[in-house]
Subunit: 392 residues, 4 copies
Amino acid sequence: MNTTTDFKRANAIAEQVKDFIRTEILPHEARARDCEHGPNEELLAQLRERARAAGVLTPHIPNEGGHLSHREIAIVLRAAGWSPLGMVVLNVAAPDEGNMHMLSRVATPAQQERFLAPLIEGRARSSFFMTEPAAEGGAGSDPGMMQTTATPAGKDWIINGRKAFITGASGASVGILMAKTEAGATMFLVDLPHAGVKLERALHTIDYTMPGGHWLVTLDDVRVPGDQVLGEVGQGFKYAQVRLGPARLTHCSRWLGACDRAHEIASEYTVRRAAFGKPLIEHEGVGFQLVDNLIDLKQSELITDWAAGVLDTGSLAIQETSMAKVAVADALFRVADRCVQVMGGTGITRDTLVEQVFREVRGFRIYDGPTEVHKFSLAKAIKRDVLSRMQS
Amino acid sequence: MNTTTDFKRANAIAEQVKDFIRTEILPHEARARDCEHGPNEELLAQLRERARAAGVLTPHIPNEGGHLSHREIAIVLRAAGWSPLGMVVLNVAAPDEGNMHMLSRVATPAQQERFLAPLIEGRARSSFFMTEPAAEGGAGSDPGMMQTTATPAGKDWIINGRKAFITGASGASVGILMAKTEAGATMFLVDLPHAGVKLERALHTIDYTMPGGHWLVTLDDVRVPGDQVLGEVGQGFKYAQVRLGPARLTHCSRWLGACDRAHEIASEYTVRRAAFGKPLIEHEGVGFQLVDNLIDLKQSELITDWAAGVLDTGSLAIQETSMAKVAVADALFRVADRCVQVMGGTGITRDTLVEQVFREVRGFRIYDGPTEVHKFSLAKAIKRDVLSRMQS
Amino acid sequence: MNTTTDFKRANAIAEQVKDFIRTEILPHEARARDCEHGPNEELLAQLRERARAAGVLTPHIPNEGGHLSHREIAIVLRAAGWSPLGMVVLNVAAPDEGNMHMLSRVATPAQQERFLAPLIEGRARSSFFMTEPAAEGGAGSDPGMMQTTATPAGKDWIINGRKAFITGASGASVGILMAKTEAGATMFLVDLPHAGVKLERALHTIDYTMPGGHWLVTLDDVRVPGDQVLGEVGQGFKYAQVRLGPARLTHCSRWLGACDRAHEIASEYTVRRAAFGKPLIEHEGVGFQLVDNLIDLKQSELITDWAAGVLDTGSLAIQETSMAKVAVADALFRVADRCVQVMGGTGITRDTLVEQVFREVRGFRIYDGPTEVHKFSLAKAIKRDVLSRMQS
Amino acid sequence: MNTTTDFKRANAIAEQVKDFIRTEILPHEARARDCEHGPNEELLAQLRERARAAGVLTPHIPNEGGHLSHREIAIVLRAAGWSPLGMVVLNVAAPDEGNMHMLSRVATPAQQERFLAPLIEGRARSSFFMTEPAAEGGAGSDPGMMQTTATPAGKDWIINGRKAFITGASGASVGILMAKTEAGATMFLVDLPHAGVKLERALHTIDYTMPGGHWLVTLDDVRVPGDQVLGEVGQGFKYAQVRLGPARLTHCSRWLGACDRAHEIASEYTVRRAAFGKPLIEHEGVGFQLVDNLIDLKQSELITDWAAGVLDTGSLAIQETSMAKVAVADALFRVADRCVQVMGGTGITRDTLVEQVFREVRGFRIYDGPTEVHKFSLAKAIKRDVLSRMQS
């Protein structure tokens, strides 16, 4: 992982990415939009081949194992996020992107060769099995409520439980799975498909273009070999922290790209479309909303870059990425909502990408921890800071 | 149309309606939710038959031609709105409900017998052809931009143009159609289906449970007999005003009912589901959002009732219904958004009605005139009031 | 206390009140504005004499002991609140108005004759000693933290403690004082001035026109005769509840009147003042803010009237008045803030009443319980409702 | 003016400034707070002497004529702004700070020696005569409405007109004055006091601690020598632009410092003060507000630094500083408002700096152009960008 940022390099990659999206992705975007659970596999494979040829596949990992710095990634993913289809084609979408990051940090060389390399090469997909069904009292935002268990059985482990919102579970070749052991929460690498990993049903969610969908899964005596423990037994939460901060920020960057695009589409609409004697944008009631977008987008960029810079110092940046996630998820929802609004009736039809971005971005205030959970933790941090200041 | 309100009667009808929804509609709701463009026709017909038997079909028109007062309608439609499927089954959904109201006010007895009676009896559906495609510079919020024309041809009229967002165009047996004539905007009653009325495609909109979908339509030499002019030639905008105020309020009442329900679902969720050691509702970050809902819902009810009361005095209540529409559409969107948020991941899945209500309610800030257009008119009204005060 | 509402009578009184304010109060308003801690006593006495002559003094209590209904009071106080100076002159300001209400409900006939009659006649002022200094851990929003004690001493009681934010303590002839006894919180009627009631200093608050100011007070062996217990010993919190609901609503109505006025001033300003080629009000960025005011003001009126109606049924209306207080305090702050904003530089000078209203209204979100405390209680109520619904 | 930023140097100066404020300023702050129109002159002179001795007077201009870079200034002024009294003592307050910047950019060496040097040395004060009375149709946010005229009279100019909100007019030794000439708007350096410059009255504004107050001024045949034209005749608006961007940002930085402080005070209050069984900060309804502050403060810092960086490239940064001004003024108002709210009754008394910061910050949304005027310009910029993109 780079810790210093080469803006020139990052901007050059971002420019390549954006060019590719403009010329190769945009023509297919409308078609992909109508498919629930991601673009169809054939189209995806075909576009991915072109991305590979153009040298923009997995653009945040220039060569095997070596990630860009977090600030560089922010720049590149913002460009890739400009098209929801683009994110998937370029292999920078969740959960693969976050999984690649964690495997590159925690997996053994042998595990990396077997599980990470195919992901980086865009030849395989992965899944992250963490969240559990709320209706059954499972772990959601509060990881302490985890119910899935892993029990040793000789050199293997036997895993039982239920998971929910498992993005991309269908079609993935590997799952990173969190379960309780006697020594504490532990992560496992599970080969997929697997007889014991039963995909019950794909949840219909308000966002629906993640490849593979979001699944409800039953884990029924899933046997995993001992050498497929990821990191050390009992250290699952620690590794989750490693994944957490960066994953929050790449979400921010991808959706920031998408909202930049929505804002561009909406702005153009308001220049072309007139009502009551002048272009919509000349109505302050419309123009001011676009100005609010401008500010929200810029501030989203700035706070993401700031938190990425803290990550690049080697810190886990738990608070900084939490602040960024809350601020950006809220800001981008406002942006997308305003884009819909200024486009009037058109804004709520799938004729425009804006409608999709609005729906997809709604999930972001909940994914990776609802706003309220982040505020809960940040308030505790403020209290700690005050107490230590008062004691000094 | 009644002008005085019998609260006892209205509440009794509302109670009947709510009972019917609880026992007959709720069991079918989840199934209906997955159908884009409304529930399937068979299910709809079957449930409507039961509504007829239960005496709750078209509950706001107790007997042919005699509407409840606007305040009474508000009470009854709030109850019916409690289920989006319920609204459709009970025959109080847009655009039929608004069309029934206008026909009862403007149509001739012969027109009423032919076009209104089947609507009231729930044996037919109707459509309202007003909005035109934005991309082609047609009339949206600014009716002055209307492009569709009607030209006299003997005793008939020939209509040409394009319309968009024509809700329920597929399946309707009559369309109320607005077009320009030399004498000004004029309304026509068009028999459907009609060779000249070409349904191009149903728009995929963020809300998608209106029966018949929202259509893009080409009007290609549509011939309409002279006795199917609705009201007088050239008075189309005047009649639109008659439809406008009440239609705004029935939208408010229906969606208020739906958001009441979403709030109830979300509240129960937060009592059952726990995190960080206590039920969600005991976290102020969650509980306060529900309190905000409580206040928004109550205020939505109060301002709707107030504007309905003004309508019941015989006024067009253009400003009052505009204020109510803006306030209620904004408030209900906040309510639905908070319901989604407090339910976390569950809130963005179609497993809960809340997700649907969130999407459907998003359209309400745009349908019947975007918030900004209403504010544009209301600001002009404030200026007029100030000027007249300053001159007195 | 009336429980039915005679709108005709209430509106007639309100009209009288408004006429008086227009002709007699407005000319003195600017002068009064510059006095911290209320208008000077001489001006006040003089204007009060005129109010008495005009028959509009204490307009909500038409004849001794008989209050208007809560809905009627809402109408009358809205009119009186149109001028902050007017409220004081007409004898409907806090805390006197709330104290009059409580004394008329709880005091003995002898106490009423001695303490209430002079208040109603506008010949005396009163104070309410409840809140304690936060810095010393005293009772603020959480009454359970009360530290002031009352100990029996023969037929008398001896009171010790500290109170804060005691509005009008200087100049009052009677204080209603809450203290802990062995039997629970108890209210006392204290003759003022009193050697043991030491007015330490008047707090400089952001609002500063309440007559007598807000005082920090030390209670040092304050001896009170046994027949000056208000109601029964140990029932203090119960009586506080009696005062609470109505007091919340009269605050709402008074400040609603003031904000109506601010909105009127601001609206006229935006019609007269031009920038960038047209009157400010024709800029949507300004006009839309005035529309938001219009809606906020109307909704404040509606929810106050609704809660007043519930009080008039005989209910304590704890939840309803809490909802109204939260909604109205927030809405009126937004209204005042927008009035300031649309008036630009002028809006932040004392040349306009708007600046004063903005400052005074800021306190309202805190007085009578901060918004957060009300939401805390209302969330508990939602939980109770859900549980009882789930059990039925 | 430096164009590159030495973070180490800037942080060192900021640290010195903060130390000085902690040890020398804070003890006098409460006393200064009660003086309308700034601290009394004696106290000010005395503290300024100490600042000079400590080497922190005019800390953003290390040696005559050489300003720190804009990013460095942002760091230093944030530290100075931590105390409203500190800003004034350290000689970084408006309007002097902005005037120093403009004089160093536009004035001739002779003008600099005579007018700038005493300002930098903290031996004199200055004023900026731009705004005109709104009630008389003068120039406020729209500079095109300027009414003040300058007419040549031999080698001199004669100026007539009215100005309003002239901060620090009383006590200033020089005024920079904008007036219309035949060649366009022109800036003049006026010696003060001056017989023709009549200070009519100090406006009572909601913020009241600017030294010298905000004055309404009549310019009555003010004769100014030709060599006291600032820059070239007719170029007044161009120079105003030079002052504008940096002045917006120094406002942002100063008030950010003040709000940081308010947030610190409020946070400590909520840790110490308890209600309903636990410290206020542990109530999410309070803690979440502090988290919102944390995010607003960080984003205010980031966007100010970003715009300052653009200024440091040599750009006028009109749009960037406009975006920063809008975002920061709105964010800081929210911060100050929340600080007031979480402190309950205490928050609205002058016992705490928080009350002052709330009032002072309210003006910021209006000073230097109300939010709406900035949005008006930014919306035009968006339109231009869209048009140029659509044409390319």
